[in-house]
């Protein structure tokens, strides 16, 4: 017991360094996903038949293939084939970003469809182009509505980032396994890793809830319209 605690204590700085990498992966992936998700949701709602078809195929690929398979496919397969020399960190960030992008596209699409149709009409009637109406009227409301689902997506991506260890990115999980395999303190070390993941999830979800309250439209109840 004494030994277990001291191993945890000694290795904590090393493990916490991994949490910076984990945080980096999550932040990069979430913003890449946000970018992909916004464009795709607009395409899924307002695009023509061909655009919608292509985007739907994208969604199904990233929904249907496990993240681990995608990681190996991109890291050892696709990037090597294309002659790209991406680090494990970059690969994990890109793969998770593209995956959450597919899910975020669906979240945003649902949010757009739940907005009252008349507002888009009103924007058009004022002479705004479709793109102006989407930017000034649809997106600001759609993003507000999406925050609860987005925080769900955050916790999923945070946990999926642990898969980065399979291609050797030195994040929390990889470092924990490295220390555990040398000290044999599996129980205490994995509990520590679990606590770090839990705290990161908790902090992010609380932060997003604060954001949701901050951007709330006055006069509206917190859950749904009217």
């Amino acid at each position: 017991m004494q030994n277990a605690l001291s191993v945890v204590f000694d290795s904590l700085p090393y493990l916490l360094q991994g949490s910076f990498l984990t945080a980096g992966i999550v932040v990069f992936a979430m913003f890449l996903g946000l970018f992909i998700g916004i464009f795709m949701s607009v395409g899924l709602v307002y695009g023509n038949r061909y655009i919608r078809y292509i985007l739907t195929v994208y969604v199904w690929i990233f929904r249907g293939v496990p993240v681990v398979v995608l990681l190996f496919l991109f890291y050892f397969g696709l990037f090597a084939f294309l002659g790209l020399n991406f680090s494990a960190f970059a690969t994990v960030s890109i793969v998770l970003g593209m995956t959450t992008g597919a899910y975020q596209a669906n979240i945003f699409k649902g949010a757009i469809l739940s907005l009252p149709q008349g507002q888009f009409k009103a924007a058009s009637a004022l002479g705004m182009s479709d793109i102006q109406a989407i930017k000034s009227v649809v997106l600001p409301q759609m993003l507000r509505l999406s925050i609860p689902a987005w925080s769900n997506e955050y916790s999923i991506i945070l946990k999926d980032s642990a898969l980065a260890f399979v291609i050797g990115a030195p994040e929390i999980m990889a470092r924990t396994q490295f220390v555990a395999s040398r000290t044999y303190q599996h129980l205490s070390l994995y509990i520590t890793a679990g606590i770090i993941y839990f705290l990161l999830t908790w902090a992010g979800v609380i932060g997003l809830r604060k954001l949701e309250q901050y951007v709330r439209i006055p006069g509206y109840s917190q859950h749904g319209n009217q």
Binding site: P116, S124, A125, L126, G127, S136, I217, G219, Y220
Partner: protein
């Protein structure tokens, strides 16, 4: 009486179908500056679709729209955007932008479409809010306004764009009876100032007091049209007369 004036808007033989159902069957309207035409008739008759065709929110299948003698090409986006900037629209359910204050509901199009600076746009928006009696409400969001106030903001928003024509699609139908008065008085003020309007309404006081001409729509056609004095004269057997009698009776029941 108005026939000697040159029309600013000419809608000719507009037809519109949704699937197998034909909503508009070759409808034509001419509008001169200052004209107020009022559309009445049973619901499903095509009033709303006609109004939305006039500013191309719904694209007509065939027919022509001319604004100031310039034909609008339905396939040219630039033509359509230009048309909409000159033809304002008021909706039955207001359609304010829920995430913006009363003031920003007005400034957003001024800035994006008319490319005004923030300062200019706000100055103009405050002027318009004052016109509809809401200068003290500029910081409130739509959810914090009553129905009548929302519709007045919507009117201010449309007027800020300096439209030549205003289309009103049952502007008082979604309102509580106690809130109708404030919107009616704003619309009457517009009429006094000489605003050119086409309005679908079942508000009997608007029909009687404002209409230069009543257009009775049924089954996608204008089946009757004429000045209210002629159509609604006592003893007349016109459809419009029958319809307005019915509206009169209904409003008596309400009171």
């Amino acid at each position: 009486m108005m026939t000697d004036k040159k029309p600013i808007l000419r809608v000719t033989n507009i037809t519109k179908s949704f699937g197998d159902i034909t909503i508009l069957k070759s409808v034509s309207i001419e509008l001169a500056k200052g004209d107020i035409k009022i559309l009445i008739g049973p619901s499903g008759g095509g009033k709303s679709t006609l109004l939305q065709c006039i500013n191309c929110l719904v694209l007509p299948d065939s027919g022509e729209i001319e604004l100031d003698n310039k034909r609008i090409h339905f396939t040219r986006k630039q033509d359509i955007y230009r048309l909409r900037q000159q033809v304002g629209m008021i909706f039955q359910d207001f359609n304010l932008f829920d995430h913006l204050t009363a003031l920003d509901n007005i400034t957003v199009a001024l800035r994006k479409v008319k490319k005004m600076s923030k300062k200019e746009a706000e100055k103009r928006a405050r002027l318009e809010l004052k016109q509809v009696g809401l200068d003290d409400k500029e910081d409130l969001y739509p959810a914090q306004l009553s129905g009548g106030q929302k519709q007045r903001v919507a009117i201010a928003r449309a007027l800020a764009m300096d439209p030549k024509i205003l289309l009103l699609d049952e502007p008082t139908s979604a309102l509580d009876p106690t809130l109708i008065g404030e919107v009616i008085s704003v619309i009457k003020e517009l009429a006094i100032k000489g605003m050119t309007m086409i309005m679908a309404t079942h508000q009997i006081s608007l029909i009687h007091n404002l209409a230069d001409e009543i257009l009775f729509m049924e089954d996608g056609r204008i089946v009757e049209q004429g000045p209210p004095g002629a159509l609604l004269a006592a003893g007349n057997t016109s459809k419009s007369q029958g319809f307005c009698d019915l509206l009169d009776k209904l409003s008596e029941v309400e009171e």
